[in-house]
Amino acid sequence: MNRNSTLGGLLRRPEAGAFLGLVAVLGFFAIFGGVTFLLPGGMASWMNVAANLGLIAIPVGLLMIAGELDISVGAMVPFGAMTVAVLSGHYGLPIWAGIAVTMTFGVMIGLINGYMVIKSAVPSLIVTLGTLFAVQGVVLGLTVLITKSTSVALTVTGPAKAIFGDFVMGGQVQVMVLWWLAVTAGYILFVHFSRYGNWIFAMGGDKVSARNAGIPTERMTMLLFVLSSTSAAFVGMCQAILYNSAQVAGGQSFIFNAIISVVVGGVLLTGGFGSVVGIFFGTITFAIVTQGIYYTDFDRNWSSLIIGVLLLCAVLMNNTFRKMALASAPKKVAK
């Protein structure tokens, strides 16, 4: 009953390794980056990056827990940005209409992804690779067709700006951070406290058994794909509102970045194991690693190397701790 009150129990939680990894990189940059990095301004810098990434990483992580992958998020970010910019910037529709249509499209593309994954036996990596290209193509083709340009300006004022694309708390922190924290809390409720979360873990553990246990696996799969593509479109939309402009290109870095955050966060690539809090820590770890460099005196040309090495270390450490913790528990899998 009291698994969580012992040290071993704590270490056995999916987020334990992620938390230790986070502490390690925080320490690393606190030493090499100095205090600026931990002052409000510095914190805002990685919080903002983590928020943008985290909104996408969590649903991507849930898909991974359920045994699926969605890499079309890389196209959904510019899709979301461009849709709202074309509608409310180029055509001048009311911003709320632009937002509503963007979100609706996000939902629709998620449904398409989910439908194709369910109906074909093709792995979701490949299906969403197809949608990645297709959505990229649609965004580019339509934007150029409509606006004769690949960069569309958008000026939003009033409540929509304040809600989706502004800075809060002294003008350093994107409002997206609040969204991220709120949504993360929502996901924690959904995944760890509602019955539906249980279903996601069961699906990742054994999809056939999950279906046999009466879980509507197909509807859950659809829901998760809708969550990931809508979240990505949302992030793109907020970026367009914040930066007053949308580009056709970009967003692809979100694919790997989200996968890294999720795995650093302790989710098993094979599904069935992980936690929202872990992904949350993983995202922050990633944001700190990528942003922390700018607070150090390292030559910027080495930043990729440092990111690569730190990530490897974080993952290895994470893994070592998990193994150590699990070694103290019986783990015979009789099947």
Binding site: M1, L189, H192, F193, N198, S209, N212, A213, G272, P330
Partner: protein, 259 residues
């Protein structure tokens, strides 16, 4: 005893492959029906029809006198049919409590939210498993992957019985179990029968079948080749039927002799 569920002239094909032909079976309350037959005879397929995993190609399933169709496992479960499938059914990386309640999680209201009631789930799951004699399990947060094969099987069966099943289906529950654990499962089957459930029990072990069965149906190549009651046939006859009609006694004798 009253018939709860029956199959009437059921056929099942997968594409071009006919797996079941004209199956007629009655499942009665408070009775254990042993489904016997060779590897590949179609036993698990019958189970999958009854539990809503597959639908019959033709023929009728009747429950309490009314025709029913189960479009998915959930509908079968809603009709009180609980199945422990041959492989899988538990989730190694989930806790005992969560695994026990998968798909039927207990919730409670916390403010505006209906949240998963972990404590209740764990309590019920542990109690249900302990009721079946597995007293070593006392922490509902332990991962299922840490249980022995017998303990897992007990968990799956306890789960099925718990959800007010009227029909309990067990597909080869004793195959990987040790003698003690298998006996345990047999006791559970008897327990369930006494509570008035209808039980369908699949096994390849004559002794296990004879220990609990009231009624026996033997499948040979997808058709019901024999349907009889306890005491109507000898162990040797049953063994021969289970082997698909071959005369096993000769073989067994040969082995015993040569050994």
């Amino acid at each position: 005893m009253s018939t709860i569920l029956s199959l009437q002239g059921v056929n099942k094909s997968f594409g071009p492959i006919d797996v079941l032909h004209d199956i007629n079976l009655d499942v009665k309350a408070g009775e254990v029906l042993c489904l016997l037959g060779d590897n590949g005879a179609g036993k698990s397929t019958v189970i999958r029809l009854l539990s809503g995993v597959h639908q019959p190609t033709s023929g009728q399933m009747v429950m309490d006198g009314k025709p029913v169709t189960f479009r998915n496992p959930r509908e079968a479960a809603d009709h009180g049919i609980a199945t422990v499938h041959q492989f899988g059914g538990t989730f190694p990386l989930m806790s005992i409590g969560r695994s026990f309640f998968v798909g039927r999680e207990p919730t409670r209201w916390v403010g505006p939210f209906r949240i998963y009631d972990r404590r209740k789930a764990n309590e019920i799951a542990v109690k249900a498993v302990q009721n079946f004699g597995i007293t070593r399990i006392d922490d509902g947060d332990r991962l299922v992957g840490g249980l022995s094969g017998g303990e897992r099987q007990a968990l799956a069966i306890a789960r099925a019985v718990h959800f007010g099943a009227r029909v309990l289906i067990l597909d080869e529950p004793t195959a990987a179990l040790g003698v003690k654990q298998a006996t345990h499962v047999l006791r559970i089957v008897n327990e369930a029968k006494k509570r008035g459930l209808a039980v369908i029990f699949i096994t390849h072990q004559v002794m296990h079948a004879m220990a609990v069965g009231d009624h026996f149906a033997v499948l040979i190549r997808g058709a019901v080749a024999a349907d009889f009651h306890k005491g109507e046939k000898t162990r040797e006859e049953i063994t021969d039927l289970m082997a698909g009609g071959a005369s096993m006694s000769a073989l067994e004798a040969e082995i015993a002799a040569s050994a």
